[in-house]
Symmetry: C2
Subunit: 311 residues, 2 copies
């Protein structure tokens, strides 16, 4: 594996837009992906939790991925989520993403059964890697116990790295627990570790981490990337405080509909408000309150564009 095939920096788990029929809108998806890259996003973690990917079928994900690449988004900047409950689904989407040249995949463990053993999870990841059987495959493990309820333990990481050192190259830690991210960074130096929230970006970078993959990157990519660019400089803590302040406002609301509200306002396109069940849109009162709070922070989605472009 060459170093330049690795991800680092600020990766965005891209929101998925739906039409009024709840079907994915590939044109709006491509537009937003292009905008994120133009804002400085280092990679696009499409089909993540934020992207409502588990509310999409495998076919819908394959079609969206192909549309994105056909639409000119570079495959090597994509790190799609490909881990599902069913072994065969995970193999199918991972195979497709790898053949399409994606820079990596972000893989949930099979998440229906709870309380499963590390041995069982190891067998799951191992089966996928063996069945995909492609030397280009790069797997980033996706640890998000608050949602998946199936954690990826340090011992599981250890075992996977030992067996597949060129394939299992990194992890996104969405546990929300800095102590876990720090433990991963300390135990596995060189493992490409991302915080799952920009709240931990500076701490992650200071401990040797690669960056963050964060939902709010959909609306504040420039601001978050400033922290990544300037993390070794005196102003880093102030920049971190600013992005944490913005994050804290947003995450007081249900995250995905809140982000879609902000994006819908930005593009002036109500289509972006739509979520698939079981999620629900914000109601009018919530939407107004959120936009008022963001306004009070003098926030706008492209307020950091010039800065990034100049850097």
């Amino acid at each position: 594996m060459t170093a330049d095939s690795n991800f680092s920096g600020v990766l965005v788990p891209v929101l998925t837009p739906f039409g009024s029929d709840l079907m994915p809108d590939s044109a709006a998806f491509i537009e937003h992906c292009r905008w994120l890259l133009a804002q400085g996003a280092d990679g696009l973690a499409i089909f993540g939790t934020t992207g409502e990917a588990n509310s999409l079928s495998v076919e819908e994900k394959i079609d969206l991925l192909d549309a994105l690449i056909d639409g000119g988004v570079p495959a090597n900047r994509l790190i799609p989520g490909t881990g599902m409950c069913a072994l065969t689904d995970t193999v199918r989407l991972t195979t497709h993403a790898t053949k399409q040249g994606c820079g990596g995949v972000l893989m949930l463990p099979p998440f229906y059964y709870k309380g499963v053993s590390d041995e069982g999870l190891y067998a799951g990841f191992s089966e996928v890697i063996e069945r995909v059987g492609d030397a280009r495959l790069r797997v980033y493990l996706y640890h998000i116990p608050p949602v998946s309820q199936v954690p990826i333990s340090l011992n599981l990481i250890d075992r996977l790295i030992a067996s597949y050192p060129d394939v299992v190259v990194g992890l996104k830690d969405s546990s929300g627990e800095w102590s876990n991210t720090r433990a991963v960074l300390q135990r596995f130096p060189g493992f490409i570790t991302f915080a799952g929230s920009e709240v931990f970006l500076l701490d992650t970078l200071r401990h040797g981490g690669a960056g963050c993959i964060t939902a709010t990157g959909n609306v504040n990519p420039g601001g978050i990337r400033k922290v990544y660019e300037q993390w070794g400089q005196p102003q880093a803590d102030a920049l971190q405080a600013r992005i944490t302040e913005i994050r804290n406002v947003i995450q007081a609301y249900p995250m995905i509909p809140a982000l879609k509200t902000i994006v819908s306002n930005f593009y002036d396109d109500p289509k972006w408000l739509t979520v698939r069940p079981p999620l629900r849109c914000l109601d009018n009162t919530q939407s107004q309150a959120l936009m008022d709070e963001m306004g009070a922070l003098a926030f706008s989605m492209d307020s950091n564009t010039a800065c990034v472009a100049a850097s």
Copy 2:
């Protein structure tokens, strides 16, 4: 809806056999389904938690369902699990099962996102019912919070029944909490409510419930059906105590591999031991201990066949 289209009695969430390549073995699946019906099972809840259905792709489930019906198993005795995370997957499998003449479907809520609202879950079920758009559809809700982590509340049931009285006709309660089953039975008389374990079978029947849908029905269908047949008679409590005793031995082990061990012994076919990751087989020590314990109970899978056949 006519009364004879409803399920009642002992329904079995059928185990799914896999070859050494982890692919479903439809011939062994059909054989076991036929055996269960011959033992007195009133219905086959294929593609449930016990059947490792969420470890199968939609295509694998459609192929198995079609093979079962082509193999002569009556479609109206089938109540496949069709609820998945993705709206479009759930619609696809539910549509197919309904067109194939299945007696009903057992539907999980979308289970990736946690802490979702009843309104969001209502929207999910409602979208599926509207999109399937088939007057023959009968939905049994699947409440299994220990695994899905997404409960089906009494208020959600209430709202679904109010909107779709001819479609949303019943529920399987695998909460493991008798207080919840009792509350459903009390609040919704006429709603076709199944206990998710035979441990609660007699209590469920005495409170107006329809029966049980239970994993251990794979190995003890005759014994469990005896309780259903004789629940109003003096010996009912003794029969219940016997099936509870057997259940308690099995559920001290990981349930699905334990059941597969017993079934593998019965058919003398090691294929039945195989599980898909993230589950794991019992090890040799566990298998031996389980079979010894079952032997000490003088248990055999077909020990109640004669009784059932004579009844």
